[in-house]
Symmetry: C3
Subunit: 304 residues, 3 copies
């Protein structure tokens, strides 16, 4: 059974195929609107994530399939003490494919072990969020026409931000990418990620703020500092505005720079940038819908 | 981009067309069941309203389309601090049309400014609820065969009841309608509405209770006094039963009078009236489903 | 109007037809996937039950129909004080069939009185849960090829467990079944059920634990002790592990014994039994989906 738990589950060739297919689907959606007819997707969201849930739903509808599920653990049988494993085994009897969002790292891998249908990891705690990464890759490919030879700055919460971890790991698989990590000292990338980068001799740098960047960027990837990850409000307040894009930093945005953000955003990315041609975060949203369509179709086809 | 934010967004001619089309759809639903095939509606309900949400969903299904969304802000990313504007821009990437319910007056107009798909106002605070008004107009037209030359009494909460405000404003556009407003002094129509009526020389009267009415009514439109609009329980208790339909007032219901109510109801409309031939509030519900179908189809067609 | 409020609403012949049809649907689902096209099911869940709700949804999708509804009373208009009767009359205008889950015994029967479309009882308090019973009957029939001449042990919470009450009543309609009830003295079957069994001279026995069983079982039907039914935590703790299946009781499971459980489970049924060939509780889940398909199709066809 082929699942999608991390971006590593897809070879570079398959990833390339999915990205191309997502772009084809976005261009002519009518050509794909019956591919999953009479098939069912379960969106099992043990923690709320409206955007991701709606993206999966829209994707499945776009393939002509149907969707069922729940949007938070509050209204599930887990309140009756049911285990994730039992839920997965039950829902496997109802649907053809499952998208799982869960607060615990490793939940998707556990689910995949017991599911009799393909499982897509729609985010497991602060661990991974690989379909967001596919959306990011698709957007970069769409506007830069390559996934290698890129200089990419990541800014904001690099410690807890799983979209950053997933995207860095995905981009490490392509040659000659250079990473610049911009964050408050309390929000630097995890030790394990740093070790991975070093072990593979990947070109990266860690800086405290935007003023340290004086080279042209292909991508500036902003992230939100998430209040819910901090122990105290004071800890959060101390760092929340540490990396913020303001007109003073607009030199970072060359005409060919992509300004990306996985959303939702906070103060780090003012809406005044929305009108800039470099702003592509709503294109990321669109790419997310279509690459999820491509992924669902791929998994349904592989496992049939 | 054509939206539907207030009933004024539709010309009288278009309103008439939609009302007629809703009646056709109710008569022969099978003729319309693939009009929105492969199209998607988002029901974004930032406050719960089961009836309205299910009505929109049923309408979209009746056109062969699909639906996604959320039923209250509790489980949306707004809890992560996302703005309405960003939510709308995101969801615009997922669907072909949006129905928005929001607790703040003006939310739908704001959403329409940023949406790249048509927006339907499914209720914004105590401001407007224009698809309820379309349902009311469709019901009146269905049973009275006209929207002018009507004597209409509104009773109950005329201060906060947005269905009343919307319907009065809609009926002001048709000639020779006379309004009688029946309410406790604490629940009278807003000053602004009174000024509008006066400015347009529309025939209206405000009375304290049903005993002041001694003319035949074409329509008696009842509304519920909503506890949640009052500052204190005592304020609510003081007025909640101020205007109540009882057998003693049954002289108000001539054989040709339509008894309407937007539901849900409280004590003001006892279930003993349900069996009366004048009771048409469940016909309003049915009209609501079909006029929403007509409206969705109209907006999808206009904007294609 | 034909509803499905209790298993008694179906004759033995119709029950047999539905069970057979469910098995046909499970075998070749593609033959049935457009039977309810353009028809709508409402899942009105006044108390959460994810598994049952998803089962109905999956079933309706499997017939090509669409689904709308709510998953708990928290987000419904009942919080505005709307009565169940009004909700049912409203929703009758939106859909072709209703599945109702409600915490109060008798709610489904009340709903059926006012609905203008068929109503399926998806569980009413501790009263009945008849579609679970259909799932149980379908599973037993599938693996034992008969519904009579069975020795069936029920274990766990026999006092509050509505799936037990419903299944016993259903199996009483078939000849020569023998029941063994295994429970703590505080969780014995209700007096009314005992009286029914006695009045019909049905062979049954009540025992305190598994050690009292020394005859071959056709079916061992386990149930969970539900903490939420007890007044105090202490009362619950006293009995929660009173009847538990452990390796020491594995002599109860002959090669031809069916081990069933309506799920969710607690400690009474350890996951170590999942790999046993006698374990059929996930087959029950699958049977539940397909017999609900058969039931929905039957009611839609009957009432057309």
């Amino acid at each position: 059974m082929q699942h999608f738990l991390t971006t590593d589950d897809l070879s570079l060739a398959t990833t390339k195929t999915l990205i191309q297919r997502a772009q084809d689907m976005a261009a002519t959606p009518a050509n794909f609107e019956t591919l999953a007819r009479h098939q069912q997707l379960a969106t099992l969201f043990f923690e709320p994530s409206t955007r991701t849930r709606l993206s999966f739903t829209s994707a499945m509808h776009g393939l002509g399939g149907t969707v069922l599920g729940f949007e938070s653990s509050a209204s599930t049988s887990t309140t009756k003490g049911e285990s994730l494993i039992d839920t997965i085994r039950v829902v496997s009897q109802y649907v053809d494919i499952i998208a799982l969002r869960h607060p615990q790292a490793g939940a998707a891998a556990l689910a995949a072990k017991y599911a009799s249908v393909p499982v897509i990891n729609a985010g497991d705690g602060s661990h991974l969020h690989p379909t967001q990464t596919l959306a990011d890759l698709t957007t970069i490919d769409q506007f830069k026409h390559r996934l290698n030879h890129l200089t990419i700055a990541f800014a904001g919460d690099l410690k807890y931000g799983r979209t950053v971890h997933s995207l860095v790991q995905a981009l490490m698989r392509y040659g000659q990418n250079r990473f610049i990590f911009v964050s408050h000292s309390a929000l630097k990338i995890p030790v394990t990620l740093r070790a991975q980068l070093a072990a593979q001799h990947i070109d990266f740098e860690e800086v405290a703020d935007f003023s340290a960047i004086n080279e042209p960027l292909d991508v500036l990837y902003m992230t939100r500092v998430q209040a819910e990850r901090f122990d105290t409000t004071a800890d959060y307040e101390a760092v929340k505005n540490s990396v913020q894009l303001t007109p003073a930093q607009s030199h970072l945005l060359a005409p060919t720079t992509l300004l990306l953000h996985p959303l939702p955003r906070g103060h780090e990315l003012p809406t005044s940038f929305d009108a800039w041609p470099q702003a592509h975060y709503f294109d990321q949203v669109k790419a997310g819908r279509f690459v999820r369509m491509a992924l669902i179709d791929y998994l349904l086809t592989q496992n049939h």
